[in-house]
């Protein structure tokens, strides 16, 4: 006889349906997993065996075969432990078999039978809800799963024993509550910037229209400082964006305590970041920085220090809003629509744009030093570049107007404005003239 438990395999942020089938048959004692499992999945049987023993269940001295169907879909990750264990428990009669048929299950097992958090619970919960199933997931990720639908059945047990008690009816678990992340402290404020009216204006325009932005100027002029203050003037995510952004963070394993945040992401990868870290890939084809910046800002400080391969890899996401990661036997696509903000010095000494300077050390360009330019068309570096000429200071009225500007509603429809940008100075501030670095004699 075959026991079945529903689970998922991830393709990007999509959770595809996978069926765990367990058969216990007479024959040589063995425990095998088939159905295109990767290494972490194959190791799962050791964890399952140990966790079952720790929970007081002995595996029968028979042939146990686990099949992950469909067999042609690659299975990666450690979240198959729990569905396999539950299917085995169903097969040996430790759980009522019909109890499992209305759930989709994912989770990793520790050797002591406790259930460890896994990535991707939010998309799994959405997919389960779409299939009319409930969800069994690790306790730590319960708040994340609860976001999928208000009336969905979600069980978030700490251990196999707790789950068995729930089904026996001796200790019924409560449904976890959806959690929203507390705002993480105060954000750096645009008010801290003295002068640089032109750059502030550019920052405001970029925030309003979602435009890309390149700051180019001498060291110490405040480029990094300005960029760090962009999140404070961006509008919060709207509910649909929130879910999409959170699904990416969920698959990346970056949702802290299962709580979602309506802050726009601001990602600042270091220039030594690898290609896989930036565009995604590596183990389990996790999303990279470009996808983690989806709906928010990707800030590349010291732009010319990034390698040409890395910069070139940004072209596809910037044109299409998605990034495709090619794997050995399949492809994964993640959303990657971000606003690119970059900062650089105009030349190696940083002073080339200053009046009265001629740099003797050569200008920087987005193409790397010592290498031929990687691409003939570098227009992606930005539609706005911060000018350093003084301009009128920011005012509250421009802050109000920004609300109108951020969204371009489709023709023939009216959309409500976004909330007030929190970080702007409430009154026009009086500022000293733009800062210039001190010139050498």
């Amino acid at each position: 006889m075959v026991t079945r438990v529903a689970t998922v395999a991830f393709e990007g942020i999509e959770a595809r349906a996978v069926d765990v089938q367990v058969q216990i048959a007479p024959g040589a004692v063995a425990f095998t997993v088939v159905g295109l499992p990767d290494k972490a999945v194959a190791e799962s049987r050791e964890r399952v065996r140990a966790a079952l023993i720790a929970s007081g269940l002995a595996l029968p001295a028979k042939r146990i075969t686990v099949n992950l169907a469909p067999a042609d879909l690659p299975k990666e990750g450690s979240h198959y432990d729990l569905p396999i264990a539950l299917a085995v428990m169903g097969a040996i009669g430790a759980l009522p078999e019909d109890a499992l048929s209305s759930y989709c299950v994912l989770g990793e097992l520790a050797l002591d039978g406790s259930i460890t958090a896994v990535a991707g619970v939010l998309p799994a919960a959405m997919a389960a809800n779409g299939r009319g199933l409930g969800l069994i997931c690790p306790a730590a990720t319960g708040p994340e799963a609860a976001w999928a639908a208000g009336d969905m059945d979600v069980l978030a047990p700490r251990s196999l024993i707790q789950l068995a008690n729930h089904f026996k009816g001796s200790q019924v678990m409560a449904r976890p509550r959806p959690a929203i992340a507390a705002p993480a402290g105060t954000m750096p404020d645009l008010r801290d910037i003295k002068g640089q009216e032109g750059a502030k204006r550019a920052l405001e325009i970029a925030a309003a229209g979602g435009h890309n932005l390149l700051f180019n100027g001498p060291p110490g002029a405040g480029k990094s400082m300005l960029a760090a203050r962009l999140p404070s003037i961006l509008p919060p995510l709207d509910p649909r964006e929130l879910l999409e952004v959170s699904m990416i963070q969920s698959v990346a394993g970056q949702l802290k305590d299962g709580a979602l945040s309506n802050r726009r992401p601001f990602r600042q990868p270091h220039h030594s970041a690898s290609m896989a870290a930036l565009v995604g890939g590596g183990l389990n084809a996790r999303p990279g920085e470009v996808s983690l910046a989806h709906g928010g800002v990707l800030f590349l400080d010291e732009l010319p220090e990034f390698t040409p391969q890395v910069l070139d890899s940004l072209r596809q996401p910037m044109e299409t809003g998605e990034v495709m990661i090619a794997r050995a036997n399949h492809r994964v696509t993640y959303p990657a629509r971000f606003q690119l903000v970059a900062a650089m010095n105009p030349c190696r000494c940083g002073m080339a744009l200053e009046p009265g300077y001629t740099c003797r050390r050569g200008r920087t360009s987005v193409a790397p030093r010592n290498t031929a330019p990687a691409s003939p068309d570098r227009s992606w570096t930005g539609s706005i570049c911060a000018s350093k000429s003084p301009r009128s200071p920011l005012s509250t009225s421009s802050c109000r107007r920004r609300r109108k500007a951020r969204r371009r509603p489709p023709p023939g429809s009216r959309r409500r404005g976004i909330g007030r940008a929190p970080g702007l100075p409430a009154r026009p501030c009086r500022l000293p003239p733009p800062m210039r670095p001190v010139r050498p004699p």
Binding site: A202, E204, I205, A208, G209, G210, H211, N212, L214, N216, D238, R240, E241, G295, G321, R337, Q339, M344, P346, T358, C359, R360, G362, R363, S365, V366, A367, P373, D377, R378, S379, T381, G382, S383, I384, C385, A386, S387, S398, R401, R402, K404, A405, R406, R407, R408, P410, P411, R415
Partner: protein, 91 residues
Amino acid sequence: MPASTTNATCPASLIEEAAAPDAEGTALIRHAAETMRLSARGFHRTLRVARTLADLDGEERVRRLHLAEALSYRGRTEGVAAARPMPSPTA
């Protein structure tokens, strides 16, 4: 169209319509397209930024002044991004 569409990400056809400048503005962008040798993409990007500038001014229509400001940002970017020949040390 997704709710998250911004001036920067909306389709080119839509921005052409939403940022169609007045007569003076049209003359300016035509002229600039020739003198600055704007590509089609560069043209659309200028319109996008001009649309945001008009939005910030609370105006329905993109005007010459918005296009001029948008083009001014573009000019600076080009001057930096284009890899110019290194100035010779004796110059």
